[in-house]
Symmetry: C2
Subunit: 395 residues, 2 copies
């Protein structure tokens, strides 16, 4: 084990839900925790101060994006990622495996590593297990991730098996070269939707004794019940005393379910992306701020919300900013959605500690109306496809 | 006279420069003052808190833009413009005359008013003298402007004369219907580059006894020496005890000259627009943050600058944000340029009060290298043309 450790604080007697503390060199992070995504060393439209004021102690940045621009060496020379982006909290960096899977054109995966084309200029690059560790150590992340091979949900059984085996071999290689004492290295369980392969993957990685474990390869377009069935079953294969991270999830209702499955850490660009498109979270569900009904509303978007946006501006003003495509719109909407996520996580944690998680979850589900599931899956499928085909940046 | 008054505090013994205080219902504004432009009830990329923290006590909003979107009645119902945009400082609203001149397609100007097509949806509208007062009273501006007719710098002598006469008649009508006691109404001197017509315009408007006077119809593509020759000569035609406002100016070097001409109030979208394009002010001149030379600079853009951006982030990070087209870039750059303008105005005011304005001006001119004049005039000409032809929003 390294400097960072995980402490379990409370457990729900009825579900798998846990409350804990993730100790890092940049502060103690209460779990369950949602990590805002700052792919390019910026949570889109926000400063680090905005993110902190929204209630976050940790965020995620993408090694893939930072490797391509501005370059790892540049950030290292400038004193590391925390200093570069002026963020005093903790940082988890993705290894790049998922980003290459979802963004880059023309990938070739071999045991040596992943060959890919930059989504920015089409140039060819190789990512190896050893390199992603060197990069994340240079960035100075508090939590680094191993290189993994992520496969599509409709990949053949053979392809899923090869990805599991390769991910294990890469995890070993990552662990071998990892040396930074103030950084934790977490492994990533793969295996698609096959619980046999998930078990193999988890068993092999647990044997390597990582300080934290992620579940990758989910939330890629499969039905939600499947996502959580696999996530819950995989979580049970992981050690109790280590943090469990469900990658790329997600929406408010997903986080409640993820926590119920015994997961501690989540990340997703969804809350910030839908904010920039005018989708704003409320306890009743997502509101489209562009709706004409918002035009004259002289009240905060979510009365009682303590975020900067709701404390300062009316729904009518937000509607106007979005209609007029004013840049301020994107910052204010992002602040609200992130604060909504932070408050949700605070509520979940408090409920777990008070032994009332099941009631909290039921109350949430009774009040919050998620976006239509079929529509969402279709959106996700098209979004992944568009990213891949057009090689567009995004997060 | 109305609630608002102007107090002269100091005068430069060598130039026309003045320091004063503009008293409004939303605070006392030290002059000379630069007003950031918030056409659509938002200084682009900033919240009101950002603007205040950059050192501003007053900003400008455009009646034309707000009339088209979200509509004057909407803002009135929501408690007026201050409340709508959550800005506790003072507000000056443009009457719409200049915006129609520069933005709208298919204008027809008659004595009744201006008929124009919306740059948003092509719909037809009419602005009359009486309406612009009603609109600005409904918005609750601290300073309202009369409706004026702005003509191009290459307009025929007959057209300029007609515009002067019409602007005087409209000023009379505006004054007659203006009734809000907590709002000042300022007149606008027109007359193009013809000092005879400027004198006529000024004389007629001064006879009407307005609490403030603006100089319109300048900075429309004519050479800078001409701008300031006309501005200085026109300023001398205006009462000593009233604030003088040079509309649509401008750059840092323009403000120093404008102050030397005896002008007190300025507004321009230039500092915020060039910021969004990566042009950042420093005491030596404008820096293009996209320059490769900025990529590795581990120091604030302007060492010693007390703005949020310079206190928090390196030049290298700003360069990265602009290269990666991160939304945060536009906010941070705008904050810096506005703080630069605010500090410049503070410096000018202090120098006038200390009797060292001429030295301050010489020191500024020795250090600050303005962008090339010919290039700038050509840019301005093309920009005005593009706005007019494409009917694009902008500020």
């Amino acid at each position: 084990m390294v400097a960072g450790t995980f402490r379990l604080v409370a457990r729900c007697p009825e579900t798998g839900a846990r409350a804990g503390e993730l100790v890092t060199g940049h502060g103690v992070v209460p779990t369950p925790v949602f990590l805002p995504v700052g792919s390019q060393a910026s949570v889109k439209a926000l400063s680090g101060d905005d993110v902190r004021q929204a209630g976050f102690a940790m965020l995620l940045a993408n090694t893939y994006h930072l490797y391509l621009r501005p370059g790892i060496a540049t950030i290292e020379k400038l004193g590391g990622l925390h200093r570069f982006m002026s963020w005093q909290g903790a940082i988890l960096t993705d290894s790049g495996g998922y980003q290459v899977f979802s963004l880059a054109g023309l990938r070739r995966v071999g045991d040596g590593g992943i060959t890919f084309r930059s989504h920015i200029d089409g140039s060819t690059h190789v990512l190896t297990a050893e390199q992603v560790i060197a990069y994340q150590e240079a960035l100075g992340a508090d939590v680094a991730m191993v290189l993994d091979e992520c496969v599509a949900v409709d990949a053949s059984p053979g392809a899923v098996r090869r990805a599991v085996d390769r991910t294990t071999r890469w995890a070993e290689r990552c662990r071998r070269v990892h040396s930074r004492a103030d950084q934790q290295l977490w492994a990533i369980v793969q295996g698609g939707l096959d619980m046999g392969l998930r078990q193999e993957s988890a068993r092999a990685l647990v044997a390597l004794d990582f300080p934290g474990y992620a579940i990758g390869g989910l939330s890629l377009g499969e039905p939600k019940e499947v996502t959580f069935a696999v996530a819950a079953a995989t979580a049970r294969l992981l050690p109790e005393d280590r943090p469990r991270y469900l990658m790329g999830v997600g929406s408010p209702e997903d986080l409640v379910e993820g926590v119920a499955c015994g997961l501690d850490v989540f990340d997703s660009a969804l809350p910030t992306r839908v904010a920039r498109n005018g989708g704003l979270y409320t306890p009743a569900g997502r509101v489209n701020i562009l709706n004409a009904a918002c035009a004259g509303v002289d009240a905060p978007l979510e009365p009682g919300c303590d975020c900067y946006t709701c404390r300062t501006f009316s729904t009518a003003y937000l509607h106007h900013l979005f209609k007029a495509r004013e840049l301020l719109a994107y910052r204010l909407a992002t602040i609200h959605n992130l604060r909504f996520m932070a408050r949700l996580m605070e509520g979940l944690r408090a409920a777990i500690q008070e032994g009332t998680f099941a009631r909290f979850r039921a109350a949430f589900q009774a009040e919050y109306h998620p976006s239509n599931e079929a529509v969402r899956r279709e959106q996700k499928r098209r979004w992944l496809e568009a990213r891949r085909n057009q090689g567009r940046p995004g997060s």
